[in-house]
Symmetry: C2
Subunit: 383 residues, 2 copies
């Protein structure tokens, strides 16, 4: 049920003709209230798309009545005209819904550097407004797909309230944030402050720890809207946990659907002298092309894990590093441990465990293998 799993929300997804293929490419998510509290997290990339600049600005007030999203064009690196286009999308949506433009967030995804076909976009917004329904969550999730092979939705229902959401993203997946658009909704009566706290906490250990290809997008946006339609004020910890669960579910769906991937790799870094150390080590491993090729080839090449760890500033002793692949400790004390042949790398899901043996902290990251299909998908045409 995606963004319409929670009460108080309408959504739609339609084909506006932005994509040449005729596939769905425009979505609306509308908050019918009574509350319009919202929070958002945006890409850390310093080159930011016009819709990111717009949405960041309108979200400063902690209120959103609607989100308009399009695939088929990122509206990034499009200059002053792109800024006007993002604003025009908000204005047209606001007019169709009877709200103010400053209550409408805008999200775009697709090729960088190409202007949007605004005549089609504005006509599409009107069509999408006419198609809004309380069952529109799935259609909205489909309309934001780019190279995604499947649409991604998740939801959690707690004592009387729900957190649901949708995500898109298949390439340019890297931290701060991954390349993606995510809209989460809830009918819990959470104010903007709680939404912000819960969202930041959840993103930090989910979307921010997905690193498919080390490439950071110009358009990443994660929004969380509350309608308060349940009338129930959630306990903060339970609400944060629910948001985390939905984010984690969506984040793992992103990794599972990463471009060309044949393996989903969970990197568990243990025994770190600080969470930052664990995260740095996990990130270095997740970005190591040579290792990701080896895992694609089902080769338990732990030497490439150690060479990746060695590039970090984390605290460790090279002669006390342990590495397990799918539970087999192929490296002990920085050298060969159990026979590498014992590690079975044939499953799609692989777990790589690193024990730094210097402390008690840990972090989990998710990545995938590097495949010829990834190269093909990102070289054969512009995306």
């Amino acid at each position: 049920m995606s963004v319409t799993a929670a009460r108080g929300f309408l959504a739609s997804g339609i084909s506006a003709g932005i994509k040449d293929s005729g596939a769905p490419d425009l979505a609306l998510v509308v908050n019918r209230g009574p509350s319009c509290a919202a929070a958002g997290v945006f890409t850390a990339n310093r080159v930011q798309a016009a819709p990111v600049r717009w949405s960041r600005r309108v979200l400063a007030g902690g209120q959103l009545a609607a989100v308009v999203l399009n695939s088929g064009g990122a509206n990034a690196c499009t200059g002053p005209a792109g800024e006007r286009d993002a604003q025009a999308m908000a204005a047209r949506t606001a007019r169709a819904l009877g709200v103010r433009a400053e209550e409408v967030a805008v999200c775009s995804t697709g090729l960088i550097g190409v202007p949007l076909p605004m005549d089609r976009v504005t006509a599409g917004i009107d069509t999408a407004a006419g198609a809004l329904s309380a069952e529109g969550g799935e259609a909205a999730a489909r309309a934001v797909k780019t190279t995604d092979s499947v649409h991604k939705t998740a939801q959690v229902t707690e004592q009387g309230w729900t957190v649901g959401g949708m995500a898109k993203g298949a390439g340019m997946l890297a931290p701060g944030l991954a390349t993606m658009l995510v809209v989460l909704t809830t009918d819990a009566a959470a104010d903007a402050a709680l939404l912000d706290t819960a969202l930041r906490a959840a993103v930090r250990t989910t979307f921010d720890r997905v690193d498919s290809d080390g490439c950071m997008s110009t358009n990443d946006t994660v929004l969380l809207l509350s309608s308060a339609a349940s009338g129930l004020v959630p306990e903060a910890a339970a609400f944060t946990e629910a948001v985390h669960t939905v984010c984690l579910d969506l984040a793992r769906q992103l990794v599972a659907d990463a471009e060309g991937a044949s393996k989903e790799i969970e990197i568990r870094v243990l025994g770190a002298a600080g969470e930052a150390d664990a995260e740095e080590v996990g990130r270095a491993i997740s970005r190591n092309n040579l290792l990701k090729c080896a895992l694609h080839g089902e080769d338990p090449n732990w030497g490439r894990v150690l060479s990746a760890i060695g590039t970090t500033s984390a605290r460790f002793d090279p002669d006390r590093l342990d590495v397990a692949i799918n539970g087999v400790w192929v490296c002990r004390d920085g050298m060969a441990g159990e026979p590498r042949e014992k590690a079975d790398l044939t499953p799609r899901h692989l777990t790589l465990t690193v024990d730094l043996r210097t402390g008690e902290d840990s972090a989990v990251l998710w990545t995938n293998d590097l495949t010829a299909d990834y190269v093909h998908e990102n070289s054969a045409y512009s995306s």
Copy 2:
């Protein structure tokens, strides 16, 4: 002529049986003097192979009588036994040549985590010592190849003195240093201090700016040995320039032969407010898998260049970035410039120019495209 282009040096390369294929895998470079001054630069990876630890230690005195090198095994992550093996290689070489073990550097390359077959290595050292000749430079260069498709040598002759050298490296090419072994020799009468100064200056803008796949090796070593056999004391600037020329020649050969590469990409970052900014931007671009796939597909996807620049901390205004591909300014002021169709990406050599328009500093880096062949070469077998 490689390492034997300069007078006073002997070299050899033989098959010791370390590689199953029977290909050459052991090389010696011997300095006959009268001087034995030497300098070295080693990997910045904190996981360092036993031969790197050994060579770093013996080079502290600024003197080297010989270098023994093997391919077919990195002797990295091999624990205390690996340390003993590296020392045994130096000791055996020293005995065969009548020098002290503390005057012998050791370099190894190949798979990480596997012990060397020391019986074959020691027998091979004796064979190599018997094969030493003043024409042995090419044979030595061939014996250090791993996945290299060709051996790499370079030389420069100035007023009466020569700098020559050999390099190996085809994957795990990344800064600090690239994955490689390099031995340079000169018959100029340069003392250890000048050798060190010239080598560090040269490496900083050559090998340290090669970034093939963002992966940093455990075994990188660059050595420079002087025999002083010319009897000529070089002018420091001319000597530094000659070392730089040889390093640049070898560095570009490394990029040209990078695993699976179909494009050699020169990244020129101009208009930076500091060389460090220029280098950081160049490095971010050189590591962007999505861009490297696009260039492989001959797609002038400048949006991926901007998204890479945006991940750096360099000083720039996103709305004033210019990007040219092979001389066509496809991005001006952070948005589409000349028609992207005008950029011809069919040549093997591509030049990507970024003008940050914030200062006067610049840097040049070299990388290559990301190809299905790279994935195949690094997934089909251990290396």
